[in-house]
């Protein structure tokens, strides 16, 4: 897990995402409360925390889908608030949770949509576009059903297609909202492995997750949100302490290790 260290030094072309005092308020409810954090390429960051902690809202604020009440967000020194939405779309690819596909489109057509941020409305796709599409299809192993209709695929196949769509954008940052949530164990591992594989010196990822084992095995760094505040930030093994799990999730866990990897499973609610 040394990717974080190397990634911090590179990241040219995009630069770090710097969030300062980010506050998002809906009515009187503060969903995000003065968040400070930095995200960089070269690492897969897991966003964990209880339901309603503000994980999805953080992604939405970065993507421009939720309005910030206060604070600043910038990428490589450029404020997101002044950035054209097409430019922002080229920086961040978004894998929405259970994102819909409204028409029975072919797998190929869906993946091609990943290139929308890079093209003018009247422009045909270039060779470079096709290259990114092919690479994404290859990486996710969906080459065998390019011409199949997305709405007829199984949940696992479909998840890979949606990931390929996000990867085809070749954005410096990929935001994924619970990408493994509705998948069977096989596809969960596969999805997390794919997300981890796409991270390199020019690419970073931020993943909202609930499964703490997947989070600690596949993420280089974990951010723990609770009540709209950042309560922990660091390597998974340093973050997921008994104390934090008790405070944030209100659970006691059992731990064991197998072949050098450590696992935890929720045992009881705290205070019982």
């Amino acid at each position: 897990m040394t990717r974080a260290a190397t990634g911090a030094m590179t990241g040219f072309g995009s630069g770090d995402i710097v969030v300062r005092n980010l506050t998002v308020q809906y009515g009187s409810k503060r969903v995000l409360d003065g968040l400070d954090l930095t995200l960089r390429t070269g690492e897969l960051v897991g966003l964990v925390g209880p339901n309603g902690a503000g994980k999805t809202t953080l992604l939405r604020a970065l993507l421009g889908l939720a309005d910030a009440t206060d604070g600043e967000m910038s990428v490589g020194g450029t404020a997101l608030s002044t950035m054209a939405i097409k430019k922002r779309a080229r920086l961040f690819a978004y894998l929405a949770q259970g994102g819909p596909v409204h028409w029975p489109l072919s797998v190929q057509s869906v993946v091609e949509l990943g290139r929308v941020p890079h093209n003018n409305p009247w422009q045909a796709m270039t060779d470079a576009d096709h290259q990114h599409i092919d690479t994404a299809i290859e990486k996710t192993g969906i080459g065998g059903f390019r011409s199949r209709i997305v709405t007829s695929l199984s949940g696992g196949e479909r998840a890979r297609v949606m990931l390929a769509r996000a990867l085809a954008a070749d954005a410096p940052y990929l935001f994924a909202d619970e990408p493994a949530a509705s998948l069977d164990p096989h596809y969960q591992l596969e999805m997390m492995a794919l997300l981890h594989e796409q991270v390199d010196e020019h690419h970073g990822g931020v993943v909202v997750m609930h499964d703490l084992n997947l989070a600690q095995h596949y993420c280089d760094r974990l951010l723990v949100l609770d009540g709209g505040k950042l309560v922990a930030d660091g390597k998974p093994e340093d973050v997921l302490t008994d104390k934090l799990l008790d405070q944030v999730f209100g659970i006691q866990v059992a731990r064991w290790s197998d072949g050098g990897d450590s696992y935890l499973v929720p045992k009881t609610l705290s205070g019982l």
């Binding site: 889908l65 978004y94 596909v101 028409w103 869906v110 009247w122």
Partner: protein, 335 residues
């Protein structure tokens, strides 16, 4: 569901273009006066006798051109609205845009009651279409459910129909009333180049509004949020499609009356050939719309109708069953 497209989009466009030219040419032969092919061609270039010249150039030619133009607008608008609302049942007619345009036009006819302000009829129709489309977008922004939208369309249509009845109730003159009724049945009969000149600028303006909208419609296949993260300015896209279709459909309704179901049926057929990608079906839908309206207009001129058949009626008789069929087919996805 898993069948590849039958023909490439380019191939379909080519086939439709050729079919359109053939049918447009053939449409020149249909009418009250019997003309031979030679007479029609000579009439086109002004080399026939005076009567034939007039029949061809001032009656048949503008009628054919209007059918092509209006059919194209209706087909394209249907494909656009279906893409924007992600709903195969969207169409200017089903959603009440056409009825509202009719209301606007009928009010203008009522207020004018003479030809003095007949040039304002398109404006009336366009304002009616704009109000209806804006309402629909407001509703679809709050709730995107297919059922809500269709019901809203039914509501808007009913309201417009009630308004039309009200205006007719107070028609100042039986002639005005008859004018309104005939006009509402939709027709391309006795249209001249004047009608074409009247509609064309609005249709051109509408077309300008929606240039390049296809990419946004494609992105919308993945839902509104993902479309926004792909860099689509949704508010702008909605506004462009709404204003664009209202301008063009309003102008179409103004010169041809209320003609339903073209926008609904045509994209459905186009998808059967080239698949569901919203951008790809736009242009073929315009071509097929033109073709369908030309054919329907030829039917109105067949001897079986003894010249009394109205274009809007013909389209309704063909289109309504297809509408029911599409509802039947898509009922699983309707919630």
């Amino acid at each position: 569901m898993n069948k590849p497209s039958l023909i490439s989009p380019l191939g379909l466009n080519g086939v439709l273009c050729i079919a359109l030219m053939v049918v447009a040419f053939a449409a020149g032969f249909f009418g009250q006066a019997d003309l031979t092919g030679g007479q029609f061609l000579n009439g086109l270039i002004g080399r026939a006798d005076t009567a034939t010249n007039i029949i061809v150039q001032e009656l048949r030619l503008p009628r054919i051109m209007l059918a092509v133009l209006c059919g194209g607008v209706l087909g394209y608008s249907g494909a656009l609205l279906q893409g924007l609302l992600r709903n195969p049942l969207a169409d200017p007619g089903v959603l009440g845009v056409s009825a509202s345009a009719s209301l606007g036009a009928v009010i203008t006819i009522y207020l004018g009651a003479t030809s003095a302000i007949s040039f304002l009829v398109p404006f009336g129709a366009i304002i009616g279409a704009l109000i209806a489309t804006a309402l629909l977008v407001l509703i679809s922004m709050r709730e995107a459910s297919v059922l809500t939208l269709i019901l809203a369309g039914v509501g808007i249509s009913s309201l417009a129909a009630a308004g039309i009845s009200l205006v007719m109730n107070f028609a100042p003159h039986p002639m005005t009333l008859q004018e309104m009724i005939l006009w509402m049945m939709g027709s391309l009969e006795n249209r001249t180049f004047y009608d074409l000149y009247l509609a064309a600028p609005f249709i051109a303006a509408g077309a300008l509004c929606v240039v390049g909208a296809g990419q946004g419609l494609n992105a919308l296949s993945l839902g509104e949020e993902t479309a926004r993260t792909l860099g689509v300015d949704l508010k702008r896209l909605r506004l462009r499609v709404v204003v664009g279709t209202a301008l063009a459909v309003g102008a179409t309704v103004a010169v041809a009356g209320a003609i339903g179901f073209v926008g609904l049926v045509v994209p459905h057929f186009v998808r059967a050939f080239i698949g569901f990608e919203p951008r790809r079906i736009l242009f073929p839908s315009a071509l097929m719309g033109s073709l369908v309206l030309l054919l329907a207009d030829i039917i109105t001129r067949l001897p079986i109708g003894s010249g009394q058949l109205r274009l809007g009626v013909v389209m309704g008789v063909i289109g309504a069953p297809v509408f029911l069929y599409i509802i039947f087919k898509t009922r699983e996805s309707m919630r």
